[in-house]
Symmetry: D2
Subunit: 215 residues, 4 copies
């Protein structure tokens, strides 16, 4: 049983997070969206998947309830990161732009092992829905950085695919591939769940999502 | 039991063709390579996987033995095609630049069915070894032509991959994919075998490999 | 602009259908669920994704509005099919247990082309979420029937995968694969949309979903 | 430039190893097969891909030339391993039943990381040619052992596929897959090459192939 607060509860990710937590009988005792706020208990953790403008209020709530923070809001600027660092002296924070457990694992594996295949060829293929604006995807760029190499990225844009990523290595005799596929937004809400359950007994600090998985 | 002749018997494809035919106890009774020639019986079919320069000799042999011809020699010019057309009045000929059964099927399926997915997105991914010079592959271009569309082709060049091709269709709710992978040169020698067994009782004409599969 | 009626509007498929139709500015002028019914115009087509018990009411509505019917309700018995056949003398009906365009195409392709690969090996792999009760999936069985063969089916049950199906053919030299992946329930709502747009100007008859695609 | 000896030079693996080494201008100065033996210099490394019966002769040659040994001969019994261990006090030895770099990496990754996905589902799919006698493959069993779990293995047997292996993890929102495909016997000869280049300056000991990759 874990009571939680959710900033951005009516957004697309907010809804999925609430759904995922409700399945565990976790109770949303604090919900915030823009100027809407309702409180029904003390949250053990606050989750923020909203907009940078909401940050001051979120920080205020974390301080008031001594509540750890899990934040996935995108587009934070330097000043906002500074405020989060400040807050992390008082409560533990997990901040990430990507709460996918699989992608986090994939990056770690590549960082650790791709040097073993330095004499192999490698290319990346990523597939997303046609409405995606950026190309290559931010995730594909993170994967390339993990390989520390000038890797070619192929970006396929078709239909409604939530997000596939494949890193394909090959030498003359074999092919080795690591791939990931997001089924739905639950790819991320399950990561938020793991981060929330992990952080409640941590000491104040600024954590990344990979700390949750490997910490 | 089928006696056959093989022009270009010591080339890479020649060796694989001989191996594939030998497994069926088919006997190579005529073998030619450059100026080397040895005869040990009357061929029921002659196979030519050599070079355009060898064509006059091949034609001469087909006429002498009244033998059907299966020819996969690449780089034939207009004049050489004319000579083959002439020959096809006397003996049946199967001519193709690609004897893969799967690729032939894939092209046929796309020609027949891709119009049903005209409101879906579609892209092609082809993967070959790093030594391949052309990009996109000739096969990928044939696949695109079969879709009759301005389809994007992604060309991956890694390791020693003999040749993979995938045509991926998607709409907002589903993905539909047709894909092909060459395991080895046997992809082609088994097609040559099928063409050879098919042609021995056909009447003189100029056939394509798709006639062998769908004829 | 197409006004439609929806029986089972509050069910999981009902919601997705309404969402998909609303994106085209199609208006739900009749909605029914159990004893709930609200009418706001004359439907040009009625869609029923509910339960067999609702059938008499649906038939009544189709007759009253002279409305074509698209029905995906599962578990219909012989008697219910008889009633639908009766209704199809008055209004056109599309009935199917699977409105996926891709799966319908896949089955058609296999029926038409798998005989060309009769000397190849073939196996089927289907992957679904762990909560799926039947194994192999009904779709995998339809695919096997389309091949007319004693094909081995491998059923993988992992995570939340909505439904993947692959038919893999191989001979000694090549691999040929046709595969399908459902991204979400929109796989089916887009098929229902196509059926609805197709049926509005058809003459009374009992149609299958493949008639919509190939008719 | 590296002179090498090859026991079993005329076997299937022997031929591929010689081909792979010859491409680097490495010279086969000692070749052995059954009672055939020819010597043309001092080998810097001896490779044995033959039969257990050849082991005494191989050991004798390693001692005579103070040559490191790379051995992939299968079916060694306890006594033969004992002799190899004895030899490894004098010269360095790499012994393995699988010289695939990719499979070795895959096993290491699974040993290290699969615990991070302990609450995910996981299944293994392996695909091999129809002539393969064992099912599941020895490699699939090694992969399962690396996960330390009761993982279901699906064995597909079609056509001439040299060997594909996939480990598929999924939770409710995402799929994570590690896969490997052998293109040809070069999958192994390139591993033998790496082992041979690695071992020539090592001190006497009994090494596994994973020591070559991670040592």
């Amino acid at each position: 049983m874990m009571d939680f607060g959710l900033v951005g509860f009516s957004g697309k990710m907010g809804k999925v997070i609430n759904e995922t937590f409700a399945e565990r009988d976790y109770r949303m005792v604090l919900k915030v969206d823009g100027s809407t706020r309702s409180v029904d208990g003390i949250p053990k953790v606050i989750i923020d998947f909203s907009r940078p403008e909401a940050l001051p209020q979120t920080i205020d709530l974390c301080v008031r309830y001594s509540s750890p923070l899990v934040i996935g809001t995108t587009g934070l600027d330097e000043d906002e990161f500074k405020k989060l660092k400040e807050l992390s002296k008082v409560v533990p924070i997990v901040q990430s732009y990507n709460f996918s457990i699989g992608i986090t694992l994939m990056i770690k594996m590549l960082e650790e092992f791709s040097s073993k295949l330095s004499d192999w060829d490698v290319e990346i293929v990523e597939t997303h829905h046609v409405h995606k604006k950026d190309s290559p995807s931010g995730t594909a760029i993170m994967l390339r950085n993990a390989i520390k190499n000038d890797v070619k990225i192929h970006s396929i844009r078709i239909g409604g695919i939530p997000g596939d990523h494949a890193v394909i290595f090959a030498n003359d005799g074999e092919v080795f591939e690591i791939s990931h596929r997001a089924i739905s937004r639950r790819a991320f809400s399950l990561g938020v769940l793991r981060a929330s359950e992990w952080i409640i007994d941590k000491k104040p600090d600024f954590y990344k999502f990979s700390d949750v998985i490997y910490g």
